[in-house]
Amino acid sequence: MPQFYITITRDKAADAVRSQIYHRLPETGRYWLDLSRRFHPNTLTARKGRWTTPWPMVVHPQLAMPAYDPGFTGTFADISDQRACEIRDLVRQGRRVALYYSGGIDSTVCAVALLKNLTAEELKDVAFCCNINSAAENPAFFERHIRRRVTILDSNRTKYSDLIAQGYSPITADTGDDIFGTEQATQFYFSYPKLVDDLPGSSRARCGLQREQPQLMEQPYAHFEDLLIPYLSPPIDPSTPSAGCDRRVGEWVYHKIVHNIATSDVPIHSLHDFFWWIIFNLRFTHCSLRGPLFYYMGTDLKGAITKHIINWFNTPNYQRWSMVNNNNGQKICKPTATHYKWAARCYIHDFDHNRWYFNYKIKSVSLYSLIQDNYDAYGMMFGLDSDYQTHWLSAAPVQRLFEEGLQNFEG
């Protein structure tokens, strides 16, 4: 049965399974395993273009990429307000919703949109599911707009399944990164000088000069192959950075991505596009399904994914906006972390006028703070099949499937 979702974590138990079979695998099977040291967890699956995986995959019907529409003109603010109005309509129909609010930019966009577009009466049916990290990530917003104004539920103790049992539809902002392009991009620009330093002479001079160009992000990505390959290469030993990276894996995955780009019908030219495509195409499924897989403890996973959980940014319009707003400053205004998700920053700032958050907020990962108590349990997760059954590497048949896929993987 094809999988909607596959993952290879860096967990110790999963490592034990991998180490048993690693030496028996062909080169491409090893590369796929090695990728989990660079993209942890390795969940790269494509929504568009050719992309082979060791196991048969199918795109989840709710996660398909809409057609590229170069004439799309909606603004981020308009789409966000429309999205809030859709939620408002659900509330008017008697549904209660609970926003998982982390204090980060994506969930703050959702919060702003709801606070802007719903009446005080309607907001009584909206809970904010958050914790001490959420409050500390944006204290001014918490104080002015959340504390004593909306119902607060403790996200450390309230999983998706708990909310659904209480009659709430959970709202997640988990695909915000996919709409704006990956933080891998800003970290690439951050690491650029070190990457250049590690290049041989002629490449070093050329790439060093490229950095000085004012339109660095808009340059063709192929010009940066010498940097992208080491950047995409997994560390040989994650605990010893000085051991270096496995360039063969980086080279393999770089060309795999380039081939995927060539076989899709979405224009990808620049460095900015390249990084955006990695997450918008190859990580969208992971970002959409990791929440239900890791934070839903009930028995009806299909119902949770298809009926109850509202994925805020997974709408055709957000995706269309994302596809036509590359290279114009809407996503990464300048190649620094403080300019990431620019349109979202502007949307929030128009509402709360908090210049500190606008100017200096940088990404912090919030999901792991939610799942850390059960993190060991997820380490053995392998996949979710198209019948909504989860598969775990602790089961012998799954281990066989795992090895067979890697043995036969063409790369």
Partner: protein, 232 residues
């Protein structure tokens, strides 16, 4: 251990590093843990990590620290709570090297604004904690964590302390913070002990011996506290 508490404090040894700006935004040499605490209070505005650094060969102070950054480059999203940086090399000896980076992408004016706000928080943190320590005779609040059934330890002194910290965590303008703190600490000046606390705090924060801020009587009452440093 000595590496974290250098004997020579004549030059700055603690830096406040902003991952967002990728530069040091402030340097100091007083106290590691109060620096960390000041970073916590400032984290409502900008996340800062505290760096114990080796003095570079060139002079480094608050007029030029924003041209420097730690040599180590860790993913900018790796930290979201103030702590010591870089955690990956600590506790080995090989940490704390700075490198000159030149101007950052953030305009100097913005960095000056950060320095101004952070400088106020640092000074106020030292003033508050030193005053608290001087004023803590027989106060049992330090046992709070060992007896959680009595938490939070609450009385009017504790409330004032918590309110001042809340102001330092959430203020928008420095003047607003000064005014609010002054109001909190001057609410019960009819009691000698509170006048003493108030005078000490203001002395440490503003360098003034006598209570002198907005809400204060310019002519101290006859039982005004006499501090040792009032005497020549």
């Amino acid at each position: 251990m000595d590496r974290f508490f250098p004997a020579d404090r004549s030059c700055p040894c603690y830096g406040f590093y902003s991952p967002a700006i990728d530069r040091l935004v402030f340097v100091d040499s007083k106290d590691l843990f109060l620096s960390l605490h000041a970073a916590v209070l400032f984290s409502s505005k900008v996340l800062l990590l505290v760096v114990v650094f080796e003095p570079p060969s060139e002079p480094l102070d608050n007029s030029n620290c924003y041209l420097w950054a730690p040599e180590d480059r860790v993913s900018q999203s790796a930290f979201h709570i103030p702590q010591l940086f870089p955690n990956v090399k600590i506790p080995t000896y090989d940490f704390g090297k700075l490198e000159y980076r030149g101007a950052s992408h953030v305009p100097e004016q913005n960095i000056f604004e950060i320095q101004e706000h952070l400088g106020f928080i640092i000074q106020a943190t030292y003033a508050l904690y030193i005053t608290e320590a001087l004023d803590s005779a027989n106060a049992p609040q330090m046992y709070e964590k060992f007896f959680p059934e009595f938490r939070p330890f609450e009385n009017s002194d504790r409330r004032a302390f918590r309110r001042v910290e809340q102001v330092l965590y959430q203020f928008e303008s420095i003047f607003q913070a000064m005014t609010e703190i002054d109001q909190i600490l001057s609410e019960r000046l009819e009691v000698f002990r509170h006048r003493r606390y108030y005078a000490r705090f203001n002395r440490l924060l503003y360098g003034k011996t006598k209570p002198s801020f907005r809400t204060l009587n310019p002519v101290p009452p006859s039982d005004a506290p006499v501090l040792y440093h009032d005497h020549p």
